[in-house]
Amino acid sequence: MRKYLERAKIIRNLPLASSIYHLELYSPKIANEARAGQFVMLRVTEDFIPLLRRPFSLFRIRKEEGILEIAYKIVGKGTGMLSKKPEGEYVDLLGPLGNGFRLPPPGTRDVWVLAGGIGIAALRPLIESIKGAMPEVNLTLYYGVKSSSELFSIDDFSEMCDGLRCSTDDGSFGFCGNVLGCVIHDWETLGTIPSYLYACGPTVMLRHVAQWVIDHSIPSQFSLESLMGCGVGACLGCAVPKKSDGEPSYVHVCFEGPIFSPDIIQWEKLL
């Protein structure tokens, strides 16, 4: 798999939900190469503040059209600047990067996909590829946010998935509580448990979900985040503590991830 540095034209950059934007980019080389779960490093400015590129998962990979879509949340300087870029301007992308999701093993029946907040962005192409390659899979999306104003593409997801369970921390829509709360509620009340699980979201959510899947021996893949310098394995800045008996040991989110099995991560050391 080849990486490209591509000047991508902005086709669309508009609000999608509360403080969340939807970016469409014409980036045919990267789009052609990209897989579900991979990401790009986007250069927000030619200037030196912020200095580093910003990693974004691919929310949609429209290979034939050469289009990439990104869903991003404004959290600071870089995403704030990005949200002000008008249609027609160009941004510089490096990608596709990272290992990407693997499909569940053949014969898998029930797949649960857990998205916390903007974590949904990495999961859309996964859902698409699972449903494409394994139509027999029964796929439920658990999608949790703080408040209903942050939910987006609900109709789209409910069409793509066999089941869609939304949750909000404030109870403004769907289950009142967080994603894992909703998952545990369903498991306890319906007695169902998935044969495979995927998760992406804030680290604190992932840590709790990891505990749950490990306790229940559910095979799974998690998409992790980390601060990134290069995105390609050159700086070793994106290290995350790995479980180990002896000396400390690390995995690197950008090239060994961002998709990991949760049982290799030393969650308690992860900030």
Binding site: R2, K3, Y4, L5, R43, F48, I49, P50, L51, L52, R53, D92, L94, S226, L227, M228, G229, C230, V232, G233, A234, C235, L236, G237, C238, A239, V240, P241, E247, P248, S249, Y250, F255, K269, L271
Partner: protein
């Protein structure tokens, strides 16, 4: 101002001749392969690989990076695969492509520096060793080798005794007199000096009240430090007779030319690779353009021509 002026970018760095003065800095370009899809490696003057130690090292606990205004603090902790894996898994890629490779080395004792230099002596594809002296001297209670001219000198001597390869000694800016350090390592037999390594720095979060780096202290790099680096290179060039490689905050051809102007015979580009992986190519092309516009046919004629009176 002729578009057909033949441009000679080659530079002599004492025992080494490079096809152009632009290299990538240690720790910012992995082992070469990482950016190979993006950068035609054969265009580079040389690749300096990530610092290598005798044994593999896991590095520091995260977070390892913090952005600052026009800068980056890193506390990677010298994570590396160790000399064995480097020789078996990493170097062959560069050697096969005939990319001049400089191996950045470090250790915790003088003996380790000597040992790793011995392992690299005569290894095909390696054009020079770069000694990272900004490392804790375990035997001297963790003081950095690079803070003390006599400790640095003994490192250089140990490496000198262990290898026939050209030696580049990389200096830290965090010393009272970088000129004195430069003289010490010149006297100890280094062939070339490179400077600067990162500037010790720190960042904290006022809400969590915690350091933003797992290691608390890290090293500042990037455009923010360029004016400091340029001053260091100027002082070193004035105080030694051996070639100097300029490093620190280079983001474009103009920056690189500034280092050459004050007397560096080559440059290394570090942090800016992250922001713009093609920066090295842009810099090489930009130097050529500058030379055409200024009617300079050999870059050697530009080096060290700063007028101070």
């Amino acid at each position: 101002m002729s578009a057909t002026l033949p441009i000679d970018l080659s530079v002599n760095l004492g025992p080494i001749k490079l096809k152009n003065p632009v290299m990538v800095a240690s720790g910012t370009f992995g082992y070469g392969r990482e950016y190979a899809d993006i950068v035609p490696l054969e265009c580079l003057g040389a690749v300096v690989v990530k610092g290598i130690s005798l044994k593999p090292r896991p590095g520091n606990p995260p977070p390892r990076l913090v952005e600052t205004p026009a800068g980056l603090i890193n506390a990677i902790g010298l994570e590396n695969v160790g000399i064995e894996t480097f020789l078996s898994d990493k170097l062959p890629f560069l050697r096969k492509r005939k990319i001049p490779t400089v191996v950045n080395i470090f250790g915790e004792t003088v003996e380790e520096y000597g040992e790793i230099a011995r392992r690299l002596d005569g290894v095909d594809g390696v054009v020079a060793l770069e000694i990272n002296i900004s490392c804790p001297n375990v035997k001297a209670g963790g003081v950095h080798f690079g803070t003390n001219p006599s400790m640095a000198s003994s490192l250089v001597k140990a490496v000198r005794a262990a290898t026939s390869l050209p030696i580049i000694t990389k200096l830290s800016p965090q010393v009272t007199s970088i000129a004195d350090m430069a003289k010490a390592v010149e006297d100890a037999g280094t062939d070339i000096i490179s400077c600067i390594n990162t500037v010790p720095a720190m960042a904290v979060n006022i809400y969590s009240r915690k350091p933003l780096l797992g290691n608390v202290i890290g090293g500042l790099s990037g455009p923010a430090i360029k004016p400091i680096a340029l001053r260091c290179v100027y002082e070193v060039v004035k105080s030694v007779g051996i070639p100097v490689i300029g490093i620190g905050g280079i983001a474009n051809a103009e920056d690189a030319l500034e280092f050459l102007l004050v007397g560096a015979r080559a440059v290394q580009i570090g942090t800016m690779n992250f922001a713009n992986p093609r920066v090295v190519i842009d810099v090489i092309e930009g130097i050529e353009n500058f030379m055409r516009l200024q009617n300079i046919s050999k870059i050697e004629d530009f080096i060290g021509t700063l007028k101070t009176l």
